[in-house]
């Protein structure tokens, strides 16, 4: 059958567009069930302490209170969750490890009643020494958060650092090849630097929330999560239920970006529902959400050696991540930082050491980019510095070292599919490299990130009796457009118009297993399993048609919305009803696992190529981004407009981290856990010109040669902006965000002060 793209490759309007502009689209936070009660969380007011007593007496007398749950009420459940290490307590048990940690849940008939009663709960603490800084936490005399680690539930081959005095090590990772010592010894230029990447809050605009209903047939939880099957796994373990009795339902997700990967408030809501026998809804405010998850901040020491011609001979990196109070996903974030810090360059000798460190701060978890922005910032800025010292144009320096298509970035892993030298060419043109004019400077950054997409995916396609189709997938829709892209693929494969295709998604009770939604994997991995399901459905339809018309199955051919039997077109509906006699249905299944095209990891390399043109007000230090360019090197864009949207969104997020965003700890607590003091980009931060370029070389393993998109755009922005500022002002920023104050200080003193100095009030 002629498979020339007709539906894929076109910017078809989002299937959820109308629902979203009319307010009809429902998010978990919008849902309610009859008889629902409300939970309010009591939170720790110490960074590290033993919990001596929780006095709930006056709270219990508060009007409308149904029940109060503390860590002492968790004897009949497995009170921990975590997808790598089972160390995250549902409620603090005997000890609290960070300011803001959930200590108790007050359940009442209304949200107001619950919140009011929660403020009456009195907690008595015995304070312990605490540590919020990662380097301090590594010292011998630092207080130890986890004298005993929880059980490792997912063996990723990660090193929990038990050997050699772990202390506050959450995980270790390293990467080595060649001999860096002799490399540096032979180099004509060796440069070193220390770089800092801030602690960020993803700010998904829908805060964390969950509605749990416990009944005879099991547990149902409506929640805003990216990975319903991973939440299901945690809940099943906690309540000792089989998967078949745990249903996680995810409507539209109001923003994810990695911050809604893995369980957050669902375990607490589920336990509350079970203990009370009532449906329990727990909705967190934004300040509470900030105290639930943030990203790993990083200190990266980088060392790079070059020949006089600018060829890399060796690179060495030491990365320290501040990973907060619990393991969560930091081992994987750290591994990603290790794999990407040295950039997509031919590196004859490499040594990378990563330590992810526990501190008494909000637990860190995934955030868009996932270790890549942290490492790329250091690696790319060092390339720029080398270029300056060697007297070579930074773009030229990169060209001399870039890995070409089909070459390995990391020995033994999938070779790089992309053509980075061409991408670099496009990018530098877009930002008027090298000279964009008076008072302005260009900067650019490159990264190739080994996607964390794990190939484990199933899909179903139901061809209904009237020939319309429903595709059932486990992917969630968090704005990235999964429902639209997958509908396009199904429509393409079955050659049906979009109007006859629906997507049913993210309900573990109805749809099939999907490992996760994130790591830019849905188009590539779920797309392929859905393609397989469609092909399976078509195979069955051909067989049914052959039977009905009594011909050899080999003589039946696929056709748009039907089959060809002896040259005559028969619709899906005709075939199905013909076979069943009345009604009927054909169900196609598809699965992807780690084999065949997906045997090699990473599943694909996600390219991050970003360039900027900036100007700076020297009196105030304010940075204006005049132009922001990104390259979406996506193999094939199923929906080009949506890829643009993802790249633009990722770029603005990267811009936020580069110029404005940072969570600040002072003493035991955060000083800016709100949307005023934590500044995310707004309309007026929009660069004057945005250029989201699309590069399609059909070089991916996804459907029609596609690869992942949605993270790359932001991975290199920090480096690009810092690089442009360096070119413009002649100062070398080594940390983000480059707020006006910091740029101003760089101009005055050539450095950014580390601690809050006395004159800064």
């Amino acid at each position: 059958m002629d498979n020339k793209p007709q539906i894929v490759g076109r910017s078809i309007p989002r299937v959820d567009g109308v629902a979203k502009v009319t307010g009809a689209a429902k998010f978990a936070i919008d849902l309610s069930v009859p008889g629902m009660v409300f939970g309010a969380v009591v939170r720790s007011e110490r960074a590290h302490a033993e919990i001596i007593d929780i006095d709930t007496r006056s709270a219990e007398q508060s009007p409308g209170v149904v029940r109060i749950i503390t860590g002492r009420d968790l004897d009949n459940v497995v009170p921990y969750f975590g997808h790598i290490v089972l160390d995250h307590p549902i409620l603090a048990i005997e000890r609290t490890l960070y300011y803001g940690e959930p200590i108790a849940l007050v359940i009442a008939r209304s949200q107001q009643a619950a919140t009011h009663a929660a403020s009456q709960v009195e907690v008595e603490y015995r304070e312990l020494p605490y540590v919020t800084d990662a380097l301090e936490a590594l010292k011998d005399d630092a207080p130890i958060l986890h004298p005993q680690r929880g059980e490792v539930v997912r063996d990723l081959g990660f090193d929990a650092g038990e050997e050699g005095g772990s202390g506050n090590i959450c995980s270790l990772a390293s990467l080595d090849w060649g001999n860096v010592d002799s490399g540096f010894a032979a180099a004509d230029l060796v440069i070193e630097g220390e770089f800092r990447y801030p602690m960020l809050y993803g700010y998904a605009m829908e805060p964390y929330n969950a509605l749990a209903v416990s009944g005879e047939d099991g547990l149902t939880v409506y929640t805003t999560t990216q990975h319903p099957y991973m939440v299901r796994k945690d809940l099943a373990r906690i309540l000792s239920l089989p998967f078949a009795k745990v249903r996680v339902v995810v409507p539209y997700v109001g923003g994810g970006y990695g911050t809604k990967s893995y369980s957050k408030i669902e375990p607490l809501a589920a336990v509350a529902a079970q203990l009370t026998g009532l449906p329990v809804k727990v909705v967190l405010g934004v300040e509470e959400s900030i105290h639930t998850t943030r990203s790993d901040s990083a200190i990266v020491r980088a060392r790079s050696g070059y020949t006089a011609q600018g060829l890399l001979v060796a690179r060495a990196f030491e990365i320290v991540l501040n990973s907060g109070a619990y393991t969560d996903n930091s081992p994987q974030v750290g591994q990603k930082a290790v794999n990407t810090c040295f950039g997509p360059y031919r590196t004859p000798a490499l040594s990378v050491r990563m330590r992810s460190v526990f501190t008494n701060t909000v637990p860190a978890s995934s955030l868009r980019g996932f270790g890549t922005p942290q490492g790329t910032f250091a690696g790319e800025l060092q390339m720029d510095e080398a270029a300056e010292r060697l007297g070579i144009d930074p773009v030229e320096l990169r060209k001399r070292n870039l890995v070409g298509p089909g070459e390995e970035v990391i020995p033994g892993k999938r070779a790089l599919e992309a053509n980075l030298p061409e991408d670099l060419e496009l990018l530098s043109k877009s930002v008027d490299w090298p000279d964009p004019g008076e008072g302005r400077a260009s900067g650019l950054g490159l990264s190739a990130s080994d996607s964390g997409a794990y190939p484990s995916s199933t899909a179903l396609v139901r061809i209904h009796a009237d020939g319309s189709a429903s595709a059932l997938v486990g992917a969630t829709e968090m704005g990235q457009g999964s429902r639209t892209v997958l509908a396009q693929i199904a429509a393409q494969e079955l050659a049906l118009p979009m109007e006859l295709v629906t997507i049913v998604s993210s309900d573990t009770g109805i749809g099939p297993f999907e490992q996760t939604t994130g790591a830019s994997r849905t188009t590539t991995v779920v797309g392929r399993s859905l393609q397989a399901a469609c092909q399976d459905a078509r195979r069955q339809l051909r067989a049914l048609a052959a039977e009905v018309h009594e011909v050899a199955v080999e003589s039946v051919q696929d056709a748009p919305g039907g089959v060809l039997v002896d040259g005559t077109w028969r619709s899906f509906a005709e075939v199905i009803q013909g076979w069943f006699g009345a009604g009927g249905e054909v169900i196609g299944t598809g699965a992807i696992r780690r084999s065949g095209d997906f045997a090699e990891t990473p599943v694909f390399w996600e390219i991050g190529a970003a360039g900027v043109i900036v100007s700076v007000d020297r009196d105030t230090g304010e940075v204006s981004v005049e132009k922001l360019a990104t390259i979406g090197d996506v193999g094939f864009a199923i929906n080009p407009a949506m890829v643009h949207g993802q790249d633009a969104g990722a770029a603005l997020m990267g811009l936020g981290a580069a110029l404005h965003e940072e969570l600040v700890y002072e003493g035991e607590m955060l000083t800016n856990p709100n949307l005023v003091d934590y500044r995310v980009p707004r309309f007026e931060d929009l660069p004057r010109e945005m250029d989201q370029m699309l590069v399609e070389r059909q070089d991916g393993v996804g459907p029609y040669g596609s690869k992942g998109a949605g993270e790359g755009g932001g991975n290199a922005i920090g480096a690009a902006i810092a690089s442009a500022i360096a070119r413009l002002l002649g100062v070398r920023p080594r940390e983000l965000p480059l707020t006006s104050e910091r740029v101003w200080r760089l101009l005055q003193d050539g450095r950014i002060p580390r601690e809050a100095d006395d004159d800064l009030s």
Binding site: E45, S119, E122, E666, G667, E668, M669, L670, T671, N672, P673, D677, A756, D758, L760, S761
Partner: protein, 152 residues
């Protein structure tokens, strides 16, 4: 966040008079403008007071307990004070040492120690809190010199 402070001043009153004045914990507490209603629970050992203040959008009211930790006759007093405002969900703790030394024309009083403010109020930032603390110290020394005779 734990902050420290240290300040000294020379007063015209002699060592003995200064010492007598400093032993009067209730009066000394009254030199701290934001502390009121000082009550003696256990003579020279335990006191209570009320801290009332306004900082940014926060109106603070905390019951303070003040403990005298050490007295070195004629020379040093070490105290500890702490309290919390449940409404505003904030805590304050202070440890301070007042010491006096003989001077040619009077005596020198030194106040040094640490303080920490945590909870909601602390979100105003270390800078604002320090400013406030500096103001309180200013007023403390103003009252002290008024009572004991100002010098330079």
């Amino acid at each position: 966040m734990l902050q420290d402070f240290r300040r000294d001043i020379t007063v015209t009153a002699d060592l003995a008079s200064t010492w007598q004045k400093l032993l009067d914990v209730s009066t000394v507490a009254s030199w701290v403008s934001i502390v009121e209603d000082v009550k003696e629970i256990d003579p020279l050992r335990r006191f209570t007071a009320v801290l009332q203040d306004r900082m940014g959008p926060f109106k603070l009211r905390a019951d303070l307990s003040i403990d005298v930790l050490e007295i070195e006759e004629g020379s040093r007093i070490r105290i500890k004070a702490g309290g919390q405002d449940r409404q505003v969900r904030s805590r304050i703790s202070v440890e301070a040492e007042l010491s006096i030394e003989n001077e040619e024309n009077g005596s020198r009083v030194t106040v040094e120690g640490t303080y920490e403010v945590t909870g909601r109020v602390a979100t105003l930032g270390a800078g604002s809190i320090r400013k406030k603390a500096t103001g309180i110290l200013d007023e403390f020394f103003q009252h002290l010199t008024q009572e004991l005779g100002g010098s330079r």
